[in-house]
Symmetry: C2
Subunit: 308 residues, 2 copies
Amino acid sequence: MTGNYTVLTGGVGGAKLVDGLYRTVAPDRLTAIVNTGDDFHHYGLAISPDIDTLLYTLAEKSNTELGWGRADESWNFMAALRELGGENWFNLGDGDMALHILRTAALGNGKSLTQVTDDFVRRWNLAVKVLPMTNDRISTWVDTAGGPLEFQRYFVEKRCEPVVESIRFEGSADAQPTPDALKAINDCEVIIIAPSNPWLSIDPILSMPSLRSALIKSEAPVILVSPLVRGTSVKGPTAKLMGELGLEINNRSIAAHYEGLLDGIIIHEGDDVPESIPVFETNTLMVNIQDRCNLAKVTLNHAKSLIS
Amino acid sequence: MTGNYTVLTGGVGGAKLVDGLYRTVAPDRLTAIVNTGDDFHHYGLAISPDIDTLLYTLAEKSNTELGWGRADESWNFMAALRELGGENWFNLGDGDMALHILRTAALGNGKSLTQVTDDFVRRWNLAVKVLPMTNDRISTWVDTAGGPLEFQRYFVEKRCEPVVESIRFEGSADAQPTPDALKAINDCEVIIIAPSNPWLSIDPILSMPSLRSALIKSEAPVILVSPLVRGTSVKGPTAKLMGELGLEINNRSIAAHYEGLLDGIIIHEGDDVPESIPVFETNTLMVNIQDRCNLAKVTLNHAKSLIS
């Protein structure tokens, strides 16, 4: 028993569960391995949307009105940019800009994304480990009827409207998970896959062969929290995407997608039950902080019940 | 008679006179050649303080309370940066950031500083030509008792407090004035040197041998507006610097500094009169827009009186 807990996570839903775990276990025992397939450069700035969403959530700085970005944000940069004819499709808040400017400068000075992210974690006194899945470049691309789209173009500019035909993770054949990420998988008591989009947020992490192998070999149970609630996604394009990929929109499809990886699954109470693996039903809809903590506790208890 | 007017200018005082000229002559006949010795990189951003001061002034977006930067500015980027332990000595306003981000990206895409600046001018519908003195790098360095300081470190971080021993323009031996800047000098009716700091704002322009030669060879009269008013500088370190360089703080020293270049000088009424060149006295203190326009008109009239 190491007492360490490791979570694989992507965007907003994943961040909420990590926050619940952060409030539930000793924070220095918790490691989040975060999707960087969404990362991209915009106006020369290195932007890591999923890392930032998690940092803002844990630091209680997330913008709960918008559902993304920083609380108490102002938008004078964007207004001035628009006036000068700049690209308008990706919103950069004035305060949010600080993360991008500092990250871009630090990467330019030779720091790794792992180091840069750790600097932010320390500055905000978050005892948790927040680890990018890799320090290499993996870029999620979505092939649509209208042609290929880089993830943020699909997700932000096109608001997930194009019909998805397939998804690719450019660079994943050559990318390596960070040593810290592998260590977090190899040296923990429970591995949780957050209720993030399996195809867009978790698959980029699993696209690195050595990380996937580490998960399979790990002695710790791997528990998924299903992203579906009452047969649809809470937020984001999971359900729409499943339909476009020709899948039934239910927990059986989700469990099948992760076949060979999972030791258990947490599903929303009353939803369809996959038969292949141990299932625990609970309320997985995280409306408030208490929901996050409850789901974290149930997930950990279920995971521990699987440890023989 | 080309009907064209060309001004050499630096920071705030110069921008005010250019604004007066802009309101006085046909704007498409006016060209400002702007000091870029203050330009520097901060957090990877290409910052051109004197160009931006002029653009903000002409576009009526300058922050008259602060005396620099953009009107109606917010500071959430700086607040977030401070919270993350970022460097605090150079203030970047939220709206101001748009110019730096767009310039940095455009330069990165292979545009010249001349092109980037022209894009801003067009976006803001300013009919005037605003030309960086060079597309090459010239960096003003100030040698002080405490060691060498890059200009912005001296000017902003140290608030001009260190005693200046000498001033250098790194890169000026290899830098070329832009063809547009040379053309503006060769093809105009009057050349005005704005009441900017001769040593810190105008000398970087003159440090390029071919630009200085063009000024000397030009048939157009070269008229200086003295930066001194009642024996001191209106704003900025001109008077303090003159003392540190062992000069008398008066118009004779200013005229001597520009020896061989000037055909006339405008001085503040009642101030000391250099004997070597034609002098015209007027109110050179620009408190309001009317002052700017009056000084512009007087300067042009005096210049035209010198055309034989």
